[in-house]
Symmetry: C2
Subunit: 112 residues, 2 copies
DNA sequence: GAATTTGTGTTAGATTTCCTGACATCTCAT
DNA sequence: ATGAGATGTCAGGAAATCTAACACAAATTC
């Protein structure tokens, strides 16, 4: 994972901040969590910690709901996006590996 | 200010998160604030809210202190950095303005 | 070398935020 | 009408944060 992705996925925000950033209520945020749409971590005392990625997801949820989609619809939408991201990830990995092995054959860049 | 800068300066982190990110104690963080080295905002109930920029500043403070500098030294260092950033900002503004007025003369790009 | 300053630890009590669980309400679709 | 889905609201408790004060070691100043 890139540095940028790491930062994006750092669980650093309490629910109060997320509430302000998304204009959702605590109730809504917790409900979406219960329905597996977001997955905040928990701090030492058991309080939720959200990442910036979570905030993005919550904003998407908001949009989808306002567009008439149900929680279940959104679960499927996210599952689909998840699969695509995974494929993309895999194909990038594959590309990288094949490029590296090509370079290794040419012998100009070591694959360390 | 750019979108990126805006995000960087958004006051979103409670002191607990900042404590974990910097490995400083609350006491230290508050002391540095009292000495004008960081300037967290306050939430509705009066609790501190730090930005990612604040976190960076705190990490710098930590480095400087470990390097033997005093709080006052750091105040001056920051003041100097502040002035330089300001100058850079101004010169960028000046450049932008002069470019815009050049374009305006040529008449191809309106200065909105 | 005694006195002061500096940076930090620690504690206490009050306030704010967050937690879970339950019950209520409203809107659709059946 | 009935039931499911999404949200509001409330209660009681736990966790996080706040300020102010006292303590203290190390460095600095007189």
């Amino acid at each position: 994972m890139s540095e940028r992705e790491l930062r994006r996925n750092l669980a650093i925000l309490p629910i109060g901040t997320v509430r302000e950033l998304t204009l959702l209520t605590d109730r809504q945020i917790r409900y979406y969590e219960k329905n597996n749409l977001v997955h905040p971590e928990r701090g030492k005392g058991g309080q939720r910690r959200f990442s910036l990625y979570d905030v993005d997801q919550l904003l998407k949820i908001k949009d989808y709901l306002e567009a008439g989609d149900s929680i279940k619809d959104i679960q499927e939408i996210f599952a689909k996006q998840q699969r695509k991201a995974q494929e993309k990830h895999n194909s990038q990995d594959a590309l990288r590996r094949s490029l590296q092995s090509e370079f290794a054959k040419i012998g100009r860049f070591g694959v360390k």
